[in-house]
Symmetry: D2
Subunit: 326 residues, 4 copies
């Protein structure tokens, strides 16, 4: 993710000037050769100390987010941070409050909102093309399981994976989630279960107006990265289909076949990552509202908490049960 954002900042976002990059492990010489003219340090403090820097982009493991954000807040830098902000909802809320107090802007990366296909679908909904939404169905399946070591520190499937879909459901519907019912299993790898996690799940969301979303997730679809949404309203339906590798259709004696879906997030969501960061930069430059707000971050995180509780207790859980604890 860091490389993607770095490339975009270096080349493709004219309103931002890339000043310095910090990575604990990358070799300075290699970096300098690749990105001539950009300062580099293995120590992020050095970067934060530079007064001409207005904003920082944080793409580190989730466990390091809180500390880095605290430092950036103290340095008065605006912050773009990869999702999730933190595995703890209380820490998340706390960080957002601190940012507000310091007058620093903090945005997290729910990139899929910026995907042209999904934002086009959201536009159609807003323009009332399909009337009042009754059911949203989100299919989100990864092409393959990440290393089990990653899963162990991921915060669990809901927080690491489904959280994109919780945000998407809120983004498409423009509504808050009231209730969550989640089922899940480790179908793909025993070690996922041993790590206390799941790799496949179904989640029913009930919005505040009694309409629904249905999410189905899997960490392994052998045919590739399956990213689809269906939005069913009283005047019609919008189906966002997969982006395929190419538009070639091959007819043979045995079948008519097409190319597979784009197979990884960097290919599939390339444009969304760029537009997301442009949205961050643009909001800073124009002092405008962020395209992703504090409540988006908090709500999606709370839904993930509720899903976790629902799975554990095998019952529908109100998001207010989660929020009431804070």
């Amino acid at each position: 993710m860091g490389k993607i954002h770095l490339r975009h900042l270096y080349q493709a976002i004219p309103d931002a000037v890339l000043v310095a990059v910090s990575d604990r492990f990358y070799e300075r010489d290699k970096f300098v050769e690749e990105y001539p003219g950009i300062a580099f340090s293995n120590d992020s403090d050095e970067v934060l100390a530079q007064p001409e820097i207005d904003a920082v982009v944080i793409c580190t493991p989730t466990s390091t987010h809180a500390e880095l954000i605290e430092k950036a807040l103290e340095a008065g830098k605006h912050i773009f941070c990869e999702k999730p902000l933190d595995l703890s909802l209380s820490v998340t809320i706390d960080l957002l409050k601190k940012a507000e107090k310091r007058g620093v802007k903090l945005m997290i990366g729910f990139n899929r909102r910026f995907d042209p296909d999904f934002s086009k679908a959201r536009d159609s909904v807003t323009k009332n093309v399909i009337g009042d939404i009754q059911v949203i169905k989100i299919t989100n399946r990864d092409p393959d399981l990440p290393p089990v070591g990653f899963i162990e520190h991921s915060g669990g499937m809901f927080m690491d994976f489904s959280i994109h879909d919780f945000d998407m459901a809120r983004y498409i519907s423009g509504k808050e989630v009231r209730e969550v019912y989640a089922r899940g299993m480790a179908f793909i790898d025993k070690r996922v279960e041993e790590a206390g996690d799941i790799d496949t799940c179904l989640i029913n969301l009930v919005f505040e107006d009694d309409t629904y979303a249905l999410i189905d997730n899997s960490r392994r679809a052998v045919y590739g990265y399956d990213q689809r949404i269906e939005i069913f309203g009283d005047k019609g339906m919008i189906a966002v289909e997969n982006n395929l590798y190419n538009q070639n259709v091959i007819y043979t004696q045995s079948s008519i076949s097409q190319a597979l879906p784009l197979n990884n997030f960097s290919e599939r969501y390339e444009t969304s990552y760029l537009l997301e960061l442009k949205g961050f930069v643009n909001a800073l430059v124009k002092d405008a509202e962020f395209p992703i707000l504090d409540k988006d971050i908090i709500s999606a995180t709370a839904v993930a908490y509720a899903a976790r509780k629902s799975l554990k207790e095998n019952r529908p859980v109100l998001v207010s049960e989660i929020m009431d604890e804070w």
Copy 2:
């Protein structure tokens, strides 16, 4: 439905000889003109009294099924009856037991199993084309709400409508359902709610092996009869798409557009109704096992009961909770 079966028996099922038809309200003269050579009566007892009749097809309102079936059983006729056998699971079980005792065969019409697209999908599953099934998603939406008067006597959405999908989930997976969680609302018409029913619902099924099915139902999709299934396995996915009115694609300045899905059950499932009745006749002629068995009827009905209970109590319900009551 009666007309569809009549036409098929009259014309298209060589192994069956259509002897007599009974309808309480149809005019004899009109019938005789339309179906020369076939006996007709407004009194079903007259038909049941004919000794050369081996089997009967019952397509009457659900509330009359039990009485007619009892009579047919006494007359020793084999019976094909439209779904549901009865709104009461205990009556259903009772009728099936009586039929068994009398040596009479009784089959009910879960026609969609016979749809060429769905049975092809089942074939592919059986041939292990997509490996072990993890999630089945069934979308079943009617083009429009039936008269509210019909809904009032329908037994409710799960028993009248979703029961097809409960059967389909069992048919595709070859597994029994262990647990049901259902959500539903009356989005389309207030009068549905007043009648104590819903018109839109989502149902999660958990099979005995912890795999899932997701069903979403609506009594009104403005774009037509939406009949799709997705079967997700560890080696791939099968998607059964809608059957459209034609294969014409029209490109204009504003869009690329296709024809709508076949808009009603008699068009969409024409072939399945024929194959279903052929299956019934064939099993009788060859004294073979029916393509739909007692346990199929009982299980789908029990799942409908469980869904009703789940909706009422907003909690997952075990099918065994239902079965244990009998």
Copy 3:
């Protein structure tokens, strides 16, 4: 073809009463068992002699058409005859004239006009959905080469095969063809070339108003029966796509695949054969104009002649060159 028409007349065309069938080789006993109540003879004269017969359907080899039609004309029977009427344009014109003189109606089977997809496309053209037509593209490919023995007596590819497309081009456009340029080769089987024929061809038609049609034909597409049309107008395009065996889409590690096109004419054009014969019967019963007229038969045949000449001389040929010879 005879069997298809026989089944339709026996079962599915209420306005026609099937009286008698003649086939030189079929066994009477077998026929009587299959079609109880229908007279049968190995001698067509016996059938033609029956006074209660108003019309006959001729499905014999092309070489026998002229003689049978002459006999039917003399017997005063209306005639439906499979295409082509005759390999000779002069004989064709002569037969049509004789029929007119005797007040007998003679229609030939350009069944594809009755295909629901193609007639829907024609409707859209008539309703000006795509404006003025500029180019029509017809792809017509058979799944496999017929026996070379058949090809030898077929009248050649243009008369036997492409003639459907010549009729389709006239049907879709509602225009007469002015000029023809044809290229062709025997790619599939050497013996086709030895028989003096081709198995693959491209034909450019220029209509009377300088607009175009492009036809490409092959006697063997390994992926099945490829039957597509594109109609390009100044306000849009209509593409009639293939009818596939089923709507199942299978996603695996290697591809997304669909079922093949319906593989033979009896499957693909089942409905068109029924509607064609219904059109014939309906025109007789209502004394209305036939859906296929003399000029349709003559024009399509003349275009086939022009194509043959064009191929031979490798130059564009005016249809008037052909017509002027008669």
Copy 4:
């Protein structure tokens, strides 16, 4: 086109160092602001005079190509020039010969070869996925007519527009064209005809091995930029379909509709322009063979000549008739 290549050279082709840009009309100040660090001149001679420049990219009107290329040749610069090199085949051949004599590499921009979908199709052909090619069908339609003033100096539809398809036919098949038959009309605008040109055409190509290509071109498809290819072989078919704006499908009461094809060449062929220029740079850096060779340029131009002659004389024209004149 100049802007596209400039952007790519500035940002996206690491192996090339952009030194200087010349444009007769662009303002220096504006340029310098947009492309800091790059030299700019309104006089191309100044650019050609710079010794550290190894290669130039020429994107000027066709009428200026010959003079600029001559100058670049004298300056010893390698040259990438937009198609066509020149409207005159003799000038084209002459320039290529001069380049060869001077040891300068000259490549022209048949960018579509580099389009990922088309090159994937070419790959599949090479890998024998569909066996021996029998027929190639190319549909190439622009979304709208260019200004008539442009058409007047374009060299005519075959040289300006269809030449892409002549190259594509050769690229996909790997074969030389032997014979050409072309039909064409001005359907869209009377002024095109007055300018002595056409706006719609059909071209049949016969390759050296008697197989075919069919090209249909229009300067205006109201539904957008229609860029499709079908390749029919004895083992199957490859269809390259259009690239649509998005993957959203909208279902309403009246239709199922998709987004239109990408509407202009800069969107549709963005990637191909980049890969084309990368191919040029790569061949220079590695001293490797160009992906587009002299014979590609000469052959496509000769086919355009043959098409022009065919249209004029309404007869098939051998490409050798054209080549023999030089």
